[in-house]
Symmetry: C2
Amino acid sequence: MARMRDAGVTPTMQRLAILEFLEGTKSHPTADKVYVEVRKTCPTIARATVYNTLEALTKAGTILQLTVDPSAARYDADLGPHVHFRCRLCGEVYDIDVKQENCLGDLVKGHRVEAVRTYAFGVCASCRKKGRDDA
Amino acid sequence: MARMRDAGVTPTMQRLAILEFLEGTKSHPTADKVYVEVRKTCPTIARATVYNTLEALTKAGTILQLTVDPSAARYDADLGPHVHFRCRLCGEVYDIDVKQENCLGDLVKGHRVEAVRTYAFGVCASCRKKGRDDA
DNA sequence: TTTCGTGCAAAGCATTTGCAAGTAG
DNA sequence: CTACTTGCAAATGCTTTGCACGAAA
């Protein structure tokens, strides 16, 4: 809550519910998943509010918006350096710990680099076990 | 064309037009942009054909599907290791050359890693010059 | 003939927007 | 009072699907 205030985002019940849900999960949920889950503790919340909040928190740097899934944005409250791995069979997203994320300079070709995000793709351990190794 | 055949994608006029357009641009076009542009040389092509082709070529490994833009998939025929930078102000996507892309092992935590993609975000040189540096 | 690719239109989702009502400063 | 937030519904936009036709194996 202090974090939200510091980030310039007015804390409201709805926004706190969203942030707390995100911090309590490692599942990198989509906006719609957040909506469905938060609705359990805050039944009147509107879809638009969820989208607004996720955008506000993303811009404020409080959470990360992942573009690892082409079909829908996913969100992550874990700001530490890590890589996101997406299974091309089941679609699940996993964390992979790394010492440090790929570091470019702060300034490359005149562009100011503010963030670097690394995504990995392949077949996850679970799908491999299921024999769906598929190549 | 040989490349398409090798990849198991039957070459057709429409598919060749799409691949040639992609290879002749560095603009990382969206599917819709591809549709509009290819339509100039192949006026009867349907949107669905463009989407089908882009998906087929992506799966075949002939082109890359980028998820650097949350609002729409972008495509790139340049398979060499490079990072994609997206300006948060104008939305433009630029290439950044790197010696090698972030290398994870082939197998991490039981997941088989088939591809690694790195995206950078910030403000591009052009927007910075326009004084829209904005922070 | 069986399969695959194409073109067209309609449908499906994720996301955004407009607007009225409520709330905080 | 003024600005911001919420909730609802409708719209927008990217992408996919269903179907019929035509070309290729």
